[in-house]
Symmetry: C2
Subunit: 416 residues, 2 copies
């Protein structure tokens, strides 16, 4: 907190004291999302890549000077961040690229990148003296909040839309959250969470309006930069739902450039599902967002009324980026391709970015010789139904070697 200047409204520029429960600009309301502003000069004086490299903490708290928390505040004990990065040659070949790197953020404690934001939320709730944290979510934000709240002895209240996959809901319940399955769309779930948070004064972990959560999400890209020894690839690819994750990427790049930890910024590719792509449309047309239907199996990014679209589009524009859409069929295909080529099992929203890369290469947006890094944002185990659609069914055999021989011949195993 010693490095924070203030919270600045992205609409009117007015600044505010960084209270832990200050969410929106007092003048602009819902249009006035706030952004955490740091004193980069002070940070530079105390902190640099060499100091980071000597920090034995593998979690995302190693970037503490760039996180908007009091250094003495209690933190949830789960090890958030420090996820692995793999280069994959054969996957690159399939996508038409010479060099692709995969960061598996599905190995966060509750299985998604959202742990990065939720761990921040729990710290800020504690700083605000609150014992209940709440959010609406299609799943990952919720389970990460429930897990991090449980680890910290707080109570989570979670609003999920009716279509949230069973695995994600079960995980919430196991973490002891009070779970409200709102019989309606994601927007209905969001609205009931907002009015409940208002009515009972709970801590608000709705990422779009809570300025601190983008700061947690940005650690995925801070980490990526460190893993690439502060020389990021030409492109960083992320899927886009509410807009908050790619906004976090944009914020990380701004931080890293201001601190001169990186010499050049990568370009950002944002990927949405064709069945729900309001941010791509607003970006392409240069117009305000229009709310749309939510028709995609990639539930984590099927957000018809994304609250953070402005920060998302700004992140893409500020980083010479692009937006593309991909179909559900392409997403399912990529679940299998990623698994077969790398041993990483990503959820649909997590692998949609791969389909986006293929499309961007075909359309000439990404050059074949450009280096690409992609963050797989969630674990495939969270959405088994989609995995089944993508993967098909096993051979069902009586315990008999003759039947097995048929499989061996059919699969060509005798020729390997």
């Amino acid at each position: 907190m010693q490095y924070i200047k203030d919270l600045a409204c992205i609409n009117c520029g007015k600044t505010f004291f960084p209270d832990p429960d200050k969410y929106l600009c007092s003048d602009c309301g819902e249009k006035g999302l706030l952004e955490v502003e740091y004193n980069y000069g002070l940070i530079s004086r105390d902190w640099n890549p060499r100091i980071i490299s000597e920090n034995p903490d593998p979690s995302h708290w190693r970037y503490l000077p760039l996180l908007p928390v009091n250094p003495d505040s209690p933190r949830p004990p789960l090890r958030v961040g420090g996820t692995p990065l793999y280069r994959n040659v054969s996957l690159g070949e399939e996508l038409g690229l010479e060099e692709i790197w995969i960061k598996d953020d599905g190995l966060n404690p509750t299985g998604s990148l959202k742990d990065r934001a939720s761990s921040l939320a729990v710290v800020k709730a504690g700083e605000a003296g609150m014992k209940i944290v709440a959010c609406s979510s299609t799943g990952n934000a919720a389970s990460s909040l429930a897990g991090n709240a449980a680890a910290s002895g707080m109570q989570a209240v979670i609003f999920v839309p009716r279509r949230a996959p069973g695995g994600k809901v079960a995980q919430l319940m196991i973490f002891g959250a009070v779970v409200i399955s709102v019989q309606g769309s994601y927007s209905d779930a969001y609205d009931l969470s907002a009015s409940s948070i208002d009515r009972w004064a709970w801590y608000n972990r709705n990422a779009a309006i809570n300025p601190y959560l983008v700061e947690g999400k940005k650690t995925a890209v801070l980490e990526l930069a460190e893993q690439f020894n502060w020389d990021l690839p030409d492109w960083v690819v992320l899927t886009v739902g509410d807009g908050c994750t790619i906004a976090g990427a944009g914020k990380a790049l701004r931080d890293l450039q201001e601190l001169e930890f990186i010499k050049k910024k990568p370009r950002l590719l944002g990927v949405q599902a064709s069945g729900c792509s309001p941010i791509t449309r607003a970006w392409k047309e240069g117009k305000p967002l229009e709310v749309c239907e939510e028709n995609s199996l990639a539930d984590s990014i099927a957000v018809g009324n994304p609250r953070n679209w402005q920060k998302a589009i700004r992140a893409v524009r500020d980083n010479s980026g692009a937006m593309v859409n991909v179909s559900d069929e392409e997403i399912l295909e990529m679940m299998g391709l990623l698994g077969r080529k790398s041993g990483v099992f990503g959820e649909p929203a997590g692998v949609a970015g791969l389909a986006g890369i293929r499309r961007a290469v075909r359309e000439g947006i990404i050059g074949k010789k450009e280096k690409v890094g992609i963050i797989i944002t969630g674990n495939g185990l969270k959405d088994i139904d989609s995995a089944r659609k993508a993967a098909g069914e096993p051979y069902r055999l009586a315990p008999d070697l003759g039947r097995m021989e048929e499989v061996v011949l059919k699969e060509g195993l005798d020729e390997l």
Copy 2:
């Protein structure tokens, strides 16, 4: 490999050259499980805790001198091991203990401790010049083999019993494995895998008879020892199915003691499900194993004909340990307790050890003031059906604040 003396038969003591596809004693057959013997004097000369602490590799390959692979052999790129360890005070209180530590091995790349063994299997298959690796498994060994094989460009062939949960099967398919759902018990799946491996000369990753896999599993305890700064708790607790994991724990403790990295060995508590506890019975009665039915929802440890029971019982005996059984009801209860108290979501077989701890404390086997470490061996996302049984159902509400008020009162949220 420069540190390996030989493979020794645990039945007759005869020794063999450590060929990568040497599985059993040539004289004793299935009774003659082999054990990797190291030259501890040589290892001590080259390696110690200080050197380990300076190794930047967080994966289990940091323990290379104690792993039976050629240092130059290609390794699967997935980051296996390096899983987090958490102290949890409130969970300890619930179980009647002052100090309990949880190691979340569900955060391995494919979601279970079995990645530690499968990564070894893939290396050994490569050393043997084989391109197909095969095993029978209730799920975790299989998905870890499929994932590590995919990451290495090898083909996995997996035999699963009919009752394997859908999530685990889908994960296998995503990783591109050829999956055979054997319409029978785990023993039927095992037998068909054994005859197929024999018939087509595939690499055998059946942990019970492949001596190298126990060596991979032992890294969970090597890591635990390092995380405790080489001063392990009074008890280390593991669930027991095929017997291979606790055998690995025993091997790790032997290694650590021979190398004098630890001063005293912890005691081992092995936990089986009441509905399938042949090793507990053999241990209690001091008699050879009797094959039994497989009646437990903890599918990963429901093994009626465990092939590695002798090594398991030896590990418990050599470490002044004990075995206890727990019911499915206790296991489901522990899924929720662990989640609510720690934010860790373990699969049934993973959390059964917690129920075992409670039982052991009540029976006076573990003293209330003794320090306990438990390894949660698999991720709860792998078995959502059990999680649902354990967790119940969410509130289903129309988007209406009045209905929400009823929930707030019922849950006592207004009083927090």
